[in-house]
Symmetry: C2
Subunit: 450 residues, 2 copies
């Protein structure tokens, strides 16, 4: 009897697995054969382009994605009001260093949130540090009146490049305020890039006391050149001029499309990316791919005639790059409206070949996800387990939602991140489609959990 | 007592695992920090360039890699004589179709081994088929005097693109002889490429009876255009002209470097790639990356002061693309000299982010490899199991060697394969380094098996 019961249970479970497996195959087939995320991404990159919060580009991106989701006939498509910071770069930066009378041009880009230099620019001696400890040890005596140059590279021995990013990005985020404490007049930060090349990579910084001094990213090639020259001539002068400014907060929107659940419409599964990008590039991998994949998830499910039990929402979050107002507003509204968000998935690590999902949750929640491994590993999704979700869905996690980050291969991401070479051409259609298929498969499996 | 024994065995095993894990980390650190395969590949692509068997480029590649391995101070570096086929493309092909008096240019490239057209070129009606079955059903009546156009695309729903290649490449390899049987005067084959673009992808074909008719690959974009026009006008004329010829076989070489084993010098572990490439491109992913990774494996082990128990050989095989004479000669010589090749690893699937290894062997041999999973999965190597080895090491398999194929991510490979865009710029340094680290780690683990 026990054996029979076991057999029956096993058979039911195997049948379920097999049906799931067949449906997941249909999902991947649909996106690989008829996927539209690539052509939609082309439009976002080439016809909308850069879309920093508060810019005309951001507004165009809101309009475009709203229309796009309406064209797919999702059950509801709507905007959610969000007030966002509005920072503008202004005219392109100039920078060089003077070494023994000779001028060496370097490539910089103001960090997002930075103040400008004076109109004439800023010229001063420059002093190099690897980290805040070295800065502190040098102190006011060696720093006052100078520009501080933070030049610690991302650690190339980290296999996951996001770890390398995490180990270096404090220089960008907090370097200016740290240096200002010791009387520095400006800050130049090595770009968050594992390659040596000519592209400065911008990104957000914040002032937290100590005076607001201008801060810029320098390309890794220029950083290496500068560092080399400084070794021979520690007295060389560095010049930079930037023209950025922070304007009044601006009204903007999250863009939301949904398919209403057939059995548990009040339980929501979110799949999303962020719609804003830095101003320097088309924002292909950061995060046009995540947005277009999220819309594609709903398109796939609809194309296959799948009626989800729960409500499935594609959310284009605004302002991930420099404020996270979209993510925080979305969670606030969810609390106000007493919406029950059971799962939220974010794609914000690039449109590269899928590797897995990282989950923020308790052991039982994580083990639910890892139980999908057998179904997902044929599609290259081996790395399913405890991990990080995503910046925009972080605020939802605080309300009890299980948040999940889509994890593509990370090797190429920081070649393009926040730099002018983050263009449509660097995205491979199959990799993008496979990511959308992976996310759609996970949404399907989560929707079918009890 | 039993428990104690278990504890001791477990401890010894855990200690071994831990030592292995530490050494593998050193291997990856060495290549990620000091890796030279990327700069070596740049030289091979930019200073040597295309290197089809029998060409001056191939000879330069032999010279370069011999000198490179000598510069690294490997214990032995030597050449192995190989006679290779010598086929030349000659002047660039021309092709167009005439539809209602209008001329539409198309991009073609003669297939390797094909005969030329007459000097005036070949103009005829063209008839499209998806496969040999359709050709056979059409028969002499509908084929005689015409050009046959094989236009079956690679199946995009295959997750591993090599499966999609396997499902389409019969058209390229055997299409000409199949079509000639029914009186066709030429063959045009859709490029083995999952994208739609303008690059024709060449590759080998063979005549096996039925008459030697000229055969060329057509770019996927041109194939789609042609197919569309044929639907409206089945009588349209296709013209192509190609100038290729097969010359007398030429002397060439495999290039071999080795570190002699300290305990079992007579047992050899091979790691290799193929040095020849098609003539259209720099042969970056096919297979410059595999060659440079193989050399890097020995460089890493030497840099770390590792003394292998067995002899480790890096082999640059000649003539994989159109004859496999390097691989067959290598295995023949091994038999003659009674060399014992225990394992052979080939990297010939591109320099992309590592996914795993495919093994050809019996169950016990495969399970030895899969036992390495725990040690290798932190480096993204999850797909270790039964698979395919590599063309060049195939002949060794017949002599009892366990052959293993390095398995990088396959999504982008056929964007570049055998086409003029297979250039150095499409290779990412970290992905290349991680591949070399993966291969070196496997060599280390195999070397330490009893």
């Amino acid at each position: 009897m026990k054996n029979l019961l076991f057999f029956l249970l096993f058979s039911v479970s195997a049948l379920g697995q097999s049906q799931d497996s067949i449906f997941i195959k249909k999902i991947y087939d649909e996106t690989l054969l008829n996927g539209e995320s690539y052509q939609n991404l082309r439009y976002l990159c080439k016809n909308v382009g850069p879309r920093l919060s508060g810019s005309l580009g951001a507004q165009k991106a809101v309009d475009y994605t709203k229309k796009l989701m309406e064209s797919y006939g999702f059950d509801k498509v709507f905007l959610q009001d969000v007030m966002v910071p509005h920072w503008e770069r202004g005219a392109k930066e100039e920078a060089y260093f003077l070494d023994n009378g000779k001028k060496y041009k370097v490539n910089i880009a103001a960090l997002g949130g930075s103040v400008a230099t004076s109109k004439a620019g800023l010229m001063a001696e420059i002093v190099e540090f690897q980290n805040f400890k070295e800065l502190k040890e040098a102190g006011v005596e060696k720093v006052k009146g100078k520009i501080v140059f933070f030049n610690r590279p991302m650690d190339p021995t980290k296999i996951n490049t996001f770890e390398a990013y995490g180990g270096a990005v404090d220089q960008r985020g907090g370097g200016a305020s740290q240096a200002a404490q010791y009387g520095a007049v400006g800050v130049i930060v090595r770009s968050m890039n594992l390659r040596e090349d000519e592209y400065p990579h911008t990104g957000s910084m914040r002032y937290s006391g100590g005076g607001m001094i201008p801060a810029a990213a320098i390309s890794t090639k220029s950083a290496n050149d500068l560092s080399k020259s400084l070794k021979n001539n520690p007295k060389l002068k560095f010049y930079f001029k930037q023209n950025c400014e922070t304007l009044a907060d601006a009204p903007s929107h999250n863009v939301i499309g949904e398919i209403v659940g057939s059995e548990k419409p009040d339980e929501i599964i979110v799949v999303g990316g962020h719609l804003d990008s830095w101003d320097l590039a088309e924002g292909a991998h950061d995060d046009g791919t995540g947005c277009m994949q999220s819309i594609e998830v709903l398109r796939i499910l609809k194309a296959l005639g799948y009626k989800p039990k729960r409500t499935i929402r594609a959310v284009m979050f605004m302002n991930e790059e420099n404020g996270l107002k979209g993510g925080t507003t979305y969670a606030d509204v969810a609390v106000q409206k007493k919406e029950k968000h059971v799962y939220a998935i974010e794609s914000d690590s690039g449109g590269f070949t899928p590797r897995g999902f990282g989950v923020v949750g308790n052991d039982s929640q994580i083990s639910k996800l890892t139980s999908f491994k057998a179904l997902l590993s044929p599609y290259g999704l081996h790395e399913i387990g405890k991990g990080s979700g995503g910046a925009d869905i972080g605020p939802l996690a605080k309300t009890g939602t299980v948040v999940i980050g889509f994890k593509p291969d990370s090797q190429r991401y920081f070649d393009y991140h926040h730099a002018s070479n983050d263009t449509f051409e660097t995205v491979n259609k199959r990799e993008l489609d496979l990511g959308a298929g992976s996310m759609a498969s996970l949404v399907y499996l989560l929707d079918n959990l009890n």
